[in-house]
């Protein structure tokens, strides 16, 4: 190996770890006092305005096309919204329909699977539902969520208190009807999961073991070790398979189909392996394509899965849907900063809720561990780049320590293996024992706070605010629920609540209406004209479907021959 490592860390990082160890006993004794570090509203503003990537100048620009023209979004998002459509509408024959279904679900992650299940519960036969997805069924951020899912079911909690937490975390910008739906449906979702056989962590009486989340005023985070997302996703996927709901994998939607009467009538899918396109006509369409993590906004590493390229935003925007809160990006405070192999990967918030405190290179506390995510992330950036109290890794990353051994001291030996086995396993693979040594963290690109605006029935809204009767959205692709900042444990909840509502609404429409009107891709042509007007480079096309991580040298030498295409 190149650098001598002791327990996974080079010697110079060990020196800082020793300082962390020296202050540990005192910090454990004074754990309760951490609350005194919680910031006031004014202080939150000071920290956010200087250290949150959203507020720092240079990262955003005004949109020049479409419904939200004139609004500010991150450059990387503007790039894909102001891009030429990848699909040429003239190459598609809309009269030759490959799939004629009641409900088309675009996206095979959590929201899509929940929507398909509820459409089926509501009486749509499985064979009249189609899930189209870019990767495999279940390859999604839903699978990767670790910490948990919020629901106010303990006696000294209530949906109303949950509502207030969501609202304050979101800087009071959230849409009332959506937060009400989120918090009021939450216990119903947990009940549904119980019935499906999701193995939540429970006490011997059957009540859920619930923990704190950043920015919450009650312990209401339900979890299944630190595989919560995986456990829910694999159960609902199993249920979809039991019900034999058809899934087309590696066949993402690349454009929505509209109708002559201004509705959504299905989508064009593209088989990434054979390059063939499929025309899907649907009585109702559910958009469940997830978020934008793989756009690497402001050059940040990301926690997100390979396919998180905001395809749904692009398609819906071209079809005339309204977007909201897209200027706010969620950076998770604790992404791995070391070792290099896992930079950016999620270190669940549960590590902090179990008692680990963030400390700087000298082993000093500098932040209340459970601020809302944007505040916590800003405080980490402040400590690293504002004050310089960070540890630099051999590859140049900077980070602060998350003192994980505290968990074993506070919760008893074995608590990490019992509750944070995924984390333990990941670090172990790279030679680090997080039960004995702290781990180095830095904020990482995590979540799309906003998205396609919906109403409480999960109907997508047009530019003028009126809902599309046949078009629905659930999960990370939609916006309005979380305002300008989502709290932990509310994304798993979001995809369940609005995936379910989208599925129920889609089924209702499919039951009560005939086939959609005459199919058209007119909107794509119209959008192309708008793009022409603003002088976009010809190679900028979207949806981009997958990021490109190929080596620079290979790309420089890559040529396309006019054969074998």
């Amino acid at each position: 190996m190149t650098l001598k490592l002791i327990g996974g860390y080079p010697e110079y990082m060990r020196e800082s770890i020793e300082m962390v160890e020296k202050t540990r006993d005192q910090r454990i004794k004074e754990k309760e006092k951490e609350k005194e570090l919680a910031l006031t509203d004014e202080e939150r503003k000071e920290v956010l305005s200087k250290f949150h990537p959203d507020y720092a100048p240079g990262g955003k620009r005004e949109l020049r096309v479409g419904v939200n023209q004139g609004e500010i979004v991150p450059n990387e998002v503007a790039d894909i919204l102001e891009a030429w459509p990848a699909l040429n509408p003239d190459e598609v024959d809309l009269n030759d329909i490959d799939y004629d279904v009641d409900v088309l679900v675009i996206g095979g992650g959590g929201a899509g699977t929940v929507a398909a299940l509820w459409a089926n519960y509501e009486g749509i036969p499985a064979e009249n539902i189609l899930i189209a997805t870019k990767l495999r069924h279940g390859d999604a951020n839903s699978m990767m969520a670790q910490g948990g899912i919020q629901a106010a079911d303990r006696p000294w909690d209530s949906p109303i208190i949950h509502y207030l937490d969501v609202l304050g975390g979101g800087h009071f910008a959230n849409k009332h009807e959506l937060v009400k739906a989120l918090t009021e449906d939450a216990p119903k979702i947990i009940k549904w999961h119980e019935e499906l056989g999701v193995m939540y962590d429970k006490d011997e009486k059957g009540n859920f073991i619930e923990r704190w989340g950043g920015g919450t005023s009650r312990r209401r985070m339900h979890s299944a070790k630190d595989y919560t997302g995986m456990e829910i996703m694999r159960v609902i996927r199993d249920e979809a398979r039991n019900r034999e709901i058809p899934v087309l994998e590696f066949s993402p939607a690349v454009e929505l189909i509209t109708t002559e009467d201004g509705e959504i009538g299905g989508a064009i899918l593209w088989n990434m392996e054979t390059k063939e396109y499929y025309v899907v006509r649907a009585k109702s369409t559910v958009l469940a394509t997830g978020g934008w993590g793989r756009l690497h906004i402001r050059g940040f590493p990301t926690t997100n899965h390979y396919g998180a390229t905001a395809d749904g935003l692009v398609m819906a925007y071209r079809a005339g849907a309204r977007l909201r809160d897209l200027e706010s990006v969620q950076y998770h405070p604790t992404g791995a900063a070391y070792p290099e192999q896992i930079v950016g990967l999620l270190i669940t918030e549960k590590v902090r809720t179990m008692g680990a405190t963030p400390v700087n290179k000298y082993g000093e506390r500098f932040v209340f561990p459970l601020e809302p995510r944007d505040v916590e992330a800003s405080m980490f950036i402040r400590e690293c780049f504002g004050k310089g109290n960070c540890v630099q890794t051999p590859t140049g990353m900077r980070g602060v320590w998350l003192d994980s051994p505290m968990i074993e001291e506070l919760q008893g030996e074995g608590a990490i293996r019992k509750n944070l086995d995924a984390m333990y396993r990941m670090y172990k693979r790279f030679g680090i024992d997080m039960t004995k040594d702290p781990i180095l963290v830095f904020p990482t690109l995590h979540y799309q706070n906003g998205g396609v605006e919906i109403n409480a029935n999960a109907q997508v809204l047009r530019g003028d605010g009126s809902p599309y009767p046949r078009f629905f959205a659930g999960g990370e692709v939609e916006g309005g629920v979380h305002g300008k900042n989502r709290l932990m444990g509310n994304s798993l909840l979001d995809y369940n609540v609005f995936g379910r509502r989208a599925g129920i609404s889609a089924a209702k429409v499919a039951r009560n209406s005939g086939k959609p009107g005459k199919l058209t891709l007119r909107h794509v042509k119209a959008f192309t004209e708008e793009v022409r007007r603003i002088n976009v480079p010809p190679e900028r096309r979207s949806p981009i479907l997958l990021p490109d991580y190929r080596g620079k040298r290979v790309l420089a030498r890559k040529i396309d021959l006019p054969v074998m295409q």
Binding site: D139, M144, W156, I161, G215, G396, M426, V554
Partner: protein, 272 residues
Amino acid sequence: MGKKIEILDVDSRQIMDDIKKAASPPEDVEHWVTIYVMGKPYRVPAGLTIMKALEYAGYRFIRSSGCRAGFCGACATVYRKKGEYRFRTALACQTTVEDGMYLSQIPFVPANKATYDIDKIEPTPTTLLEYYPEIARCVSCNTCTKACPQELDVMYYIQYAIRGDIKKVAELSFDCIQCGLCTLRCPAEIQHYHMAQFARRLYGKYYQPKSKWLERRLKEIDSGIYEKPYENLEKIREDPEAIKELYYKILYEGREKENKLVEDPLELMGED
């Protein structure tokens, strides 16, 4: 609440540029290794994961790349090292490349899942055998356990399954990411991960006790008692200062008091 933090005078834009630079992989490569991708040699920087090394070499994944964080099982990989007889397995996103690796990605695992109606099953010690009879063919060779990139005791849970101990199967298999390597390697043609999924759902549904607090809350919601408070909140929101004040009050109170609310009110009041 809140201790004044000092005001720092900083250039935010510069900080963001610095972060971008810090997070980019270093330009200079000091150490290289040679890997063999399906037999073809490529020189790649040492220290990359198998997945990133393949990309560095010029491969662009459609299959075999999913969450890229060790949770989805899409990047199951098999390999041998030069000069070694041993057959190894890995997750490409969670394993560092080594010199002389002969690598192959598994694009798909053919395996059949039993279909069932979870609501209509009454689990007994023979339920797992009824739906997955092939588990009885286990020859205890432990190849599944050796193949598991999560280091689970796969063979043990198969043995518990044969004995009908659903709880043990559920617990031992809980961290399964369903990559399918066990199933590909099994000489007895067992489909471990599907069987284990079935066991976990049975355990979650029929063996874990149901939450009474949850039942109670559902009744409250159905009764409509929260409708009025929701309306009130909407009204309070019309005054931005009032809603902010309420939010911080509830937040601080909750953080102070929550830990003291440890009694079980259902026990104090008697169950309804």
